[in-house]
Amino acid sequence: MSSKLSKYLLMKKNLKLILNTMIPGDNYMPCFTKAVKVEKIIKRLNNDKFLDNLKKREINLSKKKNWDNCVKILGSDIIEIYFTSNSAIKSLKLKKRDDLKNVKKENMIKLLKEVKYKKKIFRN
């Protein structure tokens, strides 16, 4: 394996770890790399110094400095990419369906008729 390739694979592995630690997924939502291909982020960061550093050694995210740096650099960007991915949109819909399963739908006209509204406050 060429050193260039092994560096790339290390960077990809590190980035995957960072992204999935930042957005790890839950019962409904996929972890980051299940929703978005890591290559998309690599392309987006396009030779950023941040990526170069990831090629050097395995990242230790328990170090506060490392973690804060990842959040600072990736923060807002990955949120937009994640929540506009098909997988995240689908999962949000599924979650919504389940969350609203037991909520009763009311009839708006019936609700309007319930208003015992006799005050004359409007000057038409």
């Binding site: 979650k95 919504k96 969350d99 708006m108 609700l111 409007f122």
Partner: protein, 525 residues
């Protein structure tokens, strides 16, 4: 400089400009619309798009100082608690507005007479009703007939779904015995798309006007209006994107650049004969700025209510506190609006701002405690005119063409402060009744200066007003202002519907008096 010629020139292609362009397009005349912004493909800003939230955070942010696009002009709001929100493109601010589309109340047209505050209009609701109806038909307004707050409004499209949050809130309104009604929205429901379609001024009017032969020139910024020695507007100097300066000669000029843009052009058209700005012998141009101060109240609920879905701007509203009630300690009143909460991206940014979300294991827990579980309400306060609330040209901050920007000087009146505080208190009571576990409120909200009124107010006399009841400038008779600058009072509701109805009424007047206007015979009744 290149010379061009047209019969009628309309400056601005937003809500008012588009309506008049269509209304006048049936005449056999050359009509040209100049727009300082570009023509944007609808796919780029569609509010159905999953990119809606991202758009708002980038080029479609309502704050011109944040966007800083080529078509924007700087607006310095350092002397105001409220900053200006707008959009400069073909279609104007209707590209990014919410589509909430109520009419003014009949009482809004004579606040001075009935409540001894503000100024009376020179026409009333019933004079405007025919134009409201025509506009509703052109736009396609959803709503429900029978609201006790208004005279009967007919021919509405079926009302939009008020959603789970609307139902919860409706029950709370009922418990308190307060007025509420499903919103009037410029949003058409479509079975095919499952969601609503919100037309912009382009779909409402402009495309139809273009079919009738109206010429729309995007990226064309008007710098000055030129006037002859007989006080007749002769045309405008405008700048194309490639910086080419053109003099466009016109018989009749209509200004539709909104409550900030219109006085900006008139002030920038000052000359030796008009040192205070064009059409400003009264000294009222740029003064009396009204903004609809807004209070924001957010109720947190323990369960998911899908509050991030539904009508973009307002699902239902209450006019319980709209009219004056002496016991409240202020005059006039406000609307309570049920808003749509934010999607996941905006929710994240909001929580981040208040340090309530962290990446890592707690990420989704933090997010889902908020996302879809909050009911946001807005209190839209009626503002009253004050000559110290004004706009000025800002020579220190210029736009991409070198034209001065705008400086806002604005303070909330005592009346408005009391109104805002009352509104926030009532909304807290409402959300508590609805079962909110936590309530968070503040006001006035800064970036909410959408509804810009009063800066070229209408009146009978040229001594204290800029235009007459038909938007015709007292000083320059073939110059008409057809946007919200001419409103003498602000009302307590969103203004788009009234802006367009007024624009249709003025253009009807121009149509009826066209022969005289073209001959520059201006003594017309």
């Amino acid at each position: 400089m290149v010379n061009e010629k047209t019969d009628i020139l309309i400056i601005g292609t937003g809500a008012s400009g588009a309506a008049s362009a269509w209304n006048l397009s049936k005449l056999n005349l050359k009509i040209t619309c100049l727009e300082q912004g570009p023509l944007i493909n609808k796919k780029k800003y569609s509010f159905n798009s999953i990119n809606r939230e991202i758009n708002k955070l980038n080029d479609f942010n309502p704050d011109p100082n944040y966007r800083k696009l080529h078509s924007d002009y700087p607006i310095n709001s350092d002397n105001s608690p409220i900053s200006i929100a707008n959009y400069n493109a073909v279609g104007g601010s209707t590209l990014i507005y919410s589509g909430h589309y109520p009419r003014f109340h009949p009482s809004d047209f004579y606040t001075k007479k009935i409540d001894n505050i503000g100024s009376n209009w020179l026409f009333n609701y019933y004079d405007l009703e025919k134009y409201y109806n025509l506009n509703d038909k052109m736009v396609g307004v959803s709503g429900l007939t029978g609201d006790p707050a208004y005279p009967k409004i007919k021919n509405l499209l079926p009302p939009l779904n008020i959603g789970y949050s609307g139902e919860l809130l409706a029950k709370a309104f009922n418990k308190l015995g307060w007025h509420w009604w499903p919103s009037y929205s410029a949003i058409k429901k479509s079975k095919k798309l499952k969601k609503g379609i919100r037309p912009t001024a382009v779909e409402m009017y402009l495309n139809k006007a273009i079919k009738n032969g109206v010429i729309v020139k995007p990226n064309s910024r008007v710098l000055k209006i030129k006037v002859s020695s007989k006080n007749i507007a002769t045309g405008v100097i405008y700048l194309e994107k490639n910086k080419k300066k053109i003099f466009l000669e016109a018989s009749i000029i209509l200004l539709a650049a909104n409550g900030i843009g219109t006085p900006r052009i008139l002030l920038n058209s000052s000359s030796k004969r008009y040192p205070k700005g064009l059409a400003n012998s009264s000294g009222q141009l740029g003064k009396n700025l009204m903004l609809h101060p807004l209070g924001y109240i957010e109720g947190h609920f323990k369960k998911f209510l899908a509050t991030n879905e539904g009508a973009e701007g307002c699902a239902l509203y209450s006019h319980e506190f709209y009219e004056t009630n002496k016991k409240r300690g202020f005059k006039r009143g406000y609307t309570i609006q049920l808003l749509k909460s934010t999607g996941p991206i905006e929710s994240f940014h909001y929580l981040k701002k208040f340090k309530k979300i962290n990446f890592g294991n707690s990420f989704f827990k933090n997010l889902f405690d908020y996302y879809g579980c909050t009911i946001p309400l807005a209190v839209i306060c009626e503002d009253t005119a004050n000559k110290n609330n004004c706009i000025q040209l800002d020579y220190k901050n210029k736009d991409s063409s070198g034209m001065p920007g705008i400086k806002i000087n604005y303070k909330l009146s005592k009346n408005t402060k009391k109104m805002l505080s009352h509104g926030i208190k009532q909304c807290k009571k409402l959300l508590k009744t609805a079962g909110a576990k936590e309530i968070f409120a503040f006001g006035p909200v800064r970036n909410t200066g959408w509804h810009l009124t009063g800066t070229a107010k209408m009146g009978r006399s040229k001594r204290n007003s800029v235009v007459n009841k038909f938007g015709q400038c007292h000083d320059v008779k073939n110059l008409f202002i057809i946007d919200s600058s001419i409103f003498p009072s602000s009302s307590g509701v969103n203004i788009a519907s009234t802006v367009q109805a007024v624009s249709l009424m003025i253009s009807d007047y121009i149509k009826k008096n066209l022969t005289k206007l073209k001959k520059n015979e201006f003594k017309i009744k």
